[in-house]
Structure formats: structure tokens, C-alpha cells
């Protein structure tokens, strides 16, 4: 049986009916057409699907849409404001923090969580904070530099 949900995504409230078995990442990508959030492994390992739910990062391939009912979600599309890149996005551009870009939205959301919890992280703290996000291109060094860049700008 379908369930009514009301979920606020990047500040906009959505109402709709969803099947209980739908994952939040599908709701975002297919119902709302917010395709910035990616599906990599679909098995809660790679972090490509990372979004912020009620203030904490989650892997949206392993959260039901109905679990997010009455909640607030922020996706990569919610980072920039008034056409201005968020410092984290600026960091990835300035420090070459991406190659193919597949992991990037999830990386940025994990970076957002880290900088929310810790304004001035060490290199080691940055690497630990990104443990749940895989990148197959960059070798991570430039991602770490991107987060360091963002930390100095925030």
C-alpha cells in the first residue's frame, strides 16, 4: 500500500505518495528529478548517494523514502546559494578535487558534515571523515586539498 509523505528537499516541501519499498535516492532522482545524487554501488558501500537527512549525512540508497517522512533533506543541488558556489564546491574546482565527477556529490556532502562538526580539521581527520566515500579517479589527495581549501574559506 502506498504511503503519503511530506519531505522538504533543499528548502522546498514536497508531498506525494510512494511505495514503502522505494529508497530515498530513487525518490530524489526519479520523483523529483534531482539527479545530482548518484547511485554507485547500491549496496551502502561507496557513498556516491550521500545526502544530508535532518542534519546528518546518510547513504540514500539504504534509507527508505518513508523513513524520511516529515524530514529535511539537503542534496548537492542545495549547496550553492543565489548562484554562488558553496566554498566546498569552489574548493573542488580550485584544487582539482574531481576527475570523472561521479563520486563528487557524495564527497561534498561528507565534507559538509565534517566542516559542520569540525571547523578546522587536520589532514587525518579529513581522511577519516571521507572513509564512507570511494573515489576511483583522484587518489584522494586533491579531494583532501579541496576540503582544506573550503575549511579556510568557511
Amino acid at each position: 500500500m502506498k504511503k503519503q509523505v511530506q519531505i522538504t528537499v533543499n528548502g522546498v516541501s514536497y508531498r506525494g505518495e510512494v511505495e514503502p519499498r522505494q529508497m530515498l535516492v530513487q525518490f530524489l532522482r526519479e520523483n523529483l528529478e534531482l539527479t545530482g545524487t548518484h547511485v554507485g554501488c547500491d549496496t551502502s558501500s561507496c557513498g556516491a548517494c550521500t545526502v544530508v537527512l535532518n542534519g546528518r549525512t546518510v547513504k540514500a540508497c539504504t534509507v527508505l523514502t518513508v523513513q524520511a517522512d516529515l524530514g529535511e533533506v539537503m542534496t548537492v543541488e542545495g549547496l550553492a546559494s543565489n548562484g554562488e558556489l558553496h566554498p566546498i564546491q569552489e574548493g573542488f574546482r580550485e584544487q582539482h578535487g574531481l576527475q570523472c565527477g561521479f563520486c563528487t556529490p557524495g564527497m561534498m556532502m561528507s565534507a559538509w558534515q565534517l566542516l559542520q562538526d569540525n571547523k578546522n580539521p587536520s589532514e587525518g581527520e579529513i581522511r577519516h571523515a571521507l572513509e564512507g566515500n570511494f573515489c576511483r579517479c583522484t587518489g584522494y589527495h586533491n579531494i583532501v586539498k579541496s576540503v582544506q581549501y573550503a575549511a579556510t574559506k568557511m
Binding site: P20, R21, S44, T57, V58, E131
Partner: protein, 283 residues
């Protein structure tokens, strides 16, 4: 991957949750963080007809001191436990175990109650629950009962929990040994689950070991307390020699897992190494 269809109900209270599972029927599953249940449902290894969500029940989300114990609500997340100053102070082994589970996103969602109910042989918490002498409080429509760690963890993915019971609370006694406790883990490089996880609680008085409790995660079919190490150290003066002797007894007389991550011998070896490191850290 999409799970099989199911009916979903969000419980609005403990009482409602307990009444929704009162039939004790195996086709009804509780859902907390979903980080063990949803992966197996996506693989269709589990196909419940009904899912009862308790993950957002505020009544089950707390950490407080109560009646000589730390009382922890079942849906408290790994992240909340790891960052709680009260837990870091009164039961550091539990905060440390919570802090090394999976990765940040998993810790933001996964709950202690869900992990204990799932009873993965490689879960981090159970060894710490043994070393801290913790208890698990469960509730059904018949009332509440309190289960010791030894009774609770039965075998691989098997606990003393009945299908009509909800874990409501985890209780960790407040005592000197628990305050001086730690959890060390050797993670699988791929999954971050422990190949060996060792929790120790140690109380010394005048250099002598008054009380020591050693729990292992990831080593056997279920977590266990290692009485061989404990007996070797109890009453002894705590020094490098005594610690080395005691740690060398780790896993004596215990069946040890062998899998793709580690042979039985290697696991036994790691258990001794981690017992020694944990004891040394607390000495």
C-alpha cells in the same frame, strides 16, 4: 535493487510498537536504522510482509545515568554514543566501539538496538557489552525482562530475543572497571567490520588487579567473555609480564571462526595481540 513489497507502519510509541509485533509472527520485522535489514531486503534474502519502524521514536533515544547504570535507549545511533561525553567517561569501551563502526554515514543511521538484535558475529558492540557486563532490557505485550549479555548472544545471528519483543534499553553498570575500559579493533580493510575486536574493563587497586573483564567481537560465532585471560590476571600485580602472560591465554578453550578474512590461527594470534594492547593501554 528493490526490496519485495511490504506494508509499512511507523510506530508512534513503544506501546504501539509492541502491540504491532505482539503476534510474534516472523513475517513482521522491526526497522530501526535499517543498515542491516535493508541491505538483506534489497537482496531479497529477507522478505517481510510488514515492517514496523521504531527508528524515530524519541522515547527510545536517550543516554542517561539511572539507578547505578548508564541507561541507553535502543534507537540511540552509533554517532550519538561515540560523541556522548557521559559514555566516554563512564564506559569508554562502548563509545570507542561505536566510533569505529563502518563509516560516518553508517554511524549517523545505525542504532545500538539494531546491531545487538542483528547479532552479526563481526558486530563491534557485543564484545564491549560483555566486557562492560551490560544488560539488555526488552519489552513485549507481556511486560519487560532484562537479559544478561551471556544469555542474550546465542550464536551466529541468533539471540534470546523473541519475535514479539522489542529491545528498549541497554544498561551498563557504573563502576570503576567500566570507567577504565577500552575497545580496540583490527578491521577488515574492505568492510571495516572487525576481524578481531577486543574490549577490556580493568580495575586496579594499589597496582593489583581487583577486577578484569575481557570481551571479544568477531572472533567466535557469537561474542564472548574470555575467562582464561581474566583468571590469569585477577589478583595479580598488573605489570608487563603479568599482562603478557594473561594475553597469551586469549581464546584458550574457545571455538574460533575461520573465513575469507582470516584463518583460525591468525585470528587466535590477533586476539592475543589485541588483548595485550588493550590491557597495556589500561594498566
Amino acid at each position: 535493487m528493490i526490496p519485495n513489497d511490504f506494508d509499512y507502519q511507523k510506530a508512534s510509541s513503544i506501546d504501539e510498537a509492541v502491540s504491532l509485533i505482539a503476534q510474534g509472527d516472523e513475517d513482521t520485522k522491526l526497522l530501526a536504522g535499517g543498515h542491516s535489514l535493508l541491505p538483506v531486503m534489497k537482496l531479497r534474502l529477507s522478505m517481510p510482509a510488514k515492517v514496523v519502524d521504531v527508528g524515530q521514536l524519541q522515547e527510545l533515544n536517550y543516554i542517561r545515568e539511572e539507578g547505578g547504570a548508564l541507561a541507553i535507549g535502543a534507537v540511540t545511533t552509533h554517532q550519538q554514543l561515540a560523541s556522548s561525553e557521559l559514555v566516554q567517561q563512564k564506559a569508554p569501551a562502548l563509545a570507542q566501539a561505536a566510533g569505529v563502526i563502518g563509516d560516518p554515514q553508517v554511524r549517523n543511521v545505525g542504532t545500538i538496538g539494531g546491531s545487538l538484535a542483528h547479532a552479526d558475529p563481526a558486530a563491534d558492540y557485543p564484545g564491549a557489552i560483555f566486557a562492560l557486563d551490560g544488560e539488555i532490557v526488552v519489552q513485549s505485550s507481556d511486560g519487560k525482562r532484562t537479559i544478561s549479555a551471556k544469555e542474550f548472544f546465542v550464536d551466529l545471528y541468533t539471540t534470546a530475543l523473541e519475535a514479539n519483543e522489542l529491545i528498549v534499553e541497554i544498561r551498563i553498570p557504573l563502576n570503576a572497571a567500566n570507567q577504565n575500559s577500552c575497545y580496540l579493533k583490527f578491521p577488515s580493510p574492505a568492510s571495516r567490520f572487525p576481524i578481531v575486536g577486543c574490549a577490556v574493563a580493568l580495575h586496579k587497586d594499589g597496582g593489583n588487579c581487583q577486577e578484569v573483564r575481557v570481551g571479544f567481537s568477531g572472533v567466535g560465532n557469537a561474542a564472548f567473555r574470555d575467562s582464561a585471560v581474566e583468571n590469569a590476571l585477577n589478583g595479580q600485580s598488573v605489570n608487563d609480564q603479568a599482562i603478557a602472560n594473561a594475553a597469551a591465554q586469549a581464546t584458550d578453550g574457545v571455538d574460533v571462526l575461520e573465513d575469507a578474512n582470516a584463518s583460525e590461527d591468525y585470528r587466535r594470534h590477533l586476539a592475543k595481540v589485541f588483548a595485550k594492547r588493550a590491557l597495556t593501554q589500561l594498566a
